[in-house]
């Protein structure tokens, strides 16, 4: 769940790159690489792949909802007029649909990377333990 704020920020930044700090400037490649990076802990901390992918889908959903809250903040928490009256939620969904697909794809790639990393570390730990036991 610690990856949800990153997803939220990247989604918000994708809609408003000129007011977001720091901005990815709508760079889909960077968004994909970052989503893979943020999928890594899910694979790293979960040995079960289905659980790890479930976690990815969950944090992407939570992050996306957080981004929607940030996008609606002026109307939810302050008394401002809507910039895009009428279809402002649809506008957000339209703008970010490809990005969400990238997040899911990147997250799954991240899960695989995380599991490879975990197995590598475990093999290394096991070999070190045996080396210590033998000596």
């Amino acid at each position: 769940m610690i990856c949800a704020p990153a997803i939220a920020f990247m989604t918000f930044d994708f809609v408003f790159p000129n007011v977001a700090t720091p901005s990815l400037e709508k760079n889909l490649l960077v968004a994909f690489l970052l989503s893979a990076l943020f999928g890594t802990p899910a694979g790293y901390f979960h040995s079960r792949t289905d659980l790890a992918i479930g976690t990815v889908l969950l944090y992407i959903t939570i992050g996306y909802l957080l981004a929607l809250v940030a996008y609606s903040a002026p109307f939810l928490f302050y008394d401002f007029e809507a910039v895009f009256p009428g279809l402002y939620v649809m506008f957000f969904l339209n703008m970010t649909v490809i990005l969400v697909m990238l997040f899911v794809f990147g997250g799954i790639i991240g899960v695989i990377l995380g599991q490879i990393l975990r197995e590598t570390f475990e093999m290394d730990e096991t070999s070190q333990t045996f080396t210590r036991w033998r000596s």
Binding site: I2, F9, F16, P17, N18, P41, H46, A70, A73, P74
Partner: protein, 199 residues
């Protein structure tokens, strides 16, 4: 519990993840507050206190002036990109036509900046000595007199049209792609004073 145990065991990766999460949470909150600030400026920047004046000078010219304030109560700096002021008179013979009197358009450079929580006053004055322009106004006066309304050059109901366009702060606004034009609109302030009404 297994995850928490893993967190303690693999504390370095866990700490890196938490630091990244904190960084992005901070960025999200900061960006949202910036967004709120921009929308606040869009809503609260106003034109106010317009004072119109027309006066006959001793040399026979007509002096028309407008003083107006641009009030910026927001936390954003306004960088003014264009100001236009025009004065016209509604032609009573053709209801949709106007008699042009004055038209001024300026593209300010570095001096035209309205700071945070500041009010900037604009004062424009122009003298009309062109016989053709004055004869159009006199024609309007004569026509109005024939219809039972007496005007002088000073009391004609001049319609002042003042427009100001400004960018908010230093936010990027050079987007050309059609799907991104809303980003330009978001950080653009356009205010108008027309015929006694503020828009």
């Amino acid at each position: 519990m297994g995850v928490m145990k893993d967190f303690r065991r693999r504390w370095f990766v866990a700490a890196l993840s938490i630091v990244a999460a904190l960084f992005f949470t901070g960025s999200l909150i900061f960006s949202s507050l910036t967004y709120v600030s921009v929308l606040s400026a869009r809503q609260n920047v106003t034109l106010a206190n317009a004072a119109e004046h027309a006066e006959m000078l001793s040399n026979g010219s007509l002096s028309i002036s407008l003083a107006i304030d641009l009030d910026n109560p927001s936390r954003e700096v306004l960088n003014i990109v264009s100001i236009s002021w025009s004065v016209k008179v509604l032609n009573s013979t053709l209801p949709l036509e106007y008699i042009p009197v004055i038209s001024v358009y300026t593209v300010p450079t570095e001096y035209a900046e309205v700071g945070r929580h500041q009010v900037k006053s604009f004062e424009y004055e122009q003298c009309i000595s062109d016989p053709q322009a004055l004869s159009r106004l006199l024609g309007f006066i004569n026509h109005s007199t024939s219809e039972g309304t007496d005007y002088t050059l000073e009391s004609i109901p001049y319609i002042h049209d003042f427009r100001v366009v400004a960018w908010l702060g230093d936010y990027e606004h050079d987007y050309d792609y059609s799907k991104e034009l809303y980003l330009n609109d978001m950080v653009k302030i356009e205010r108008r004073y027309h015929g006694g009404e503020y828009n």
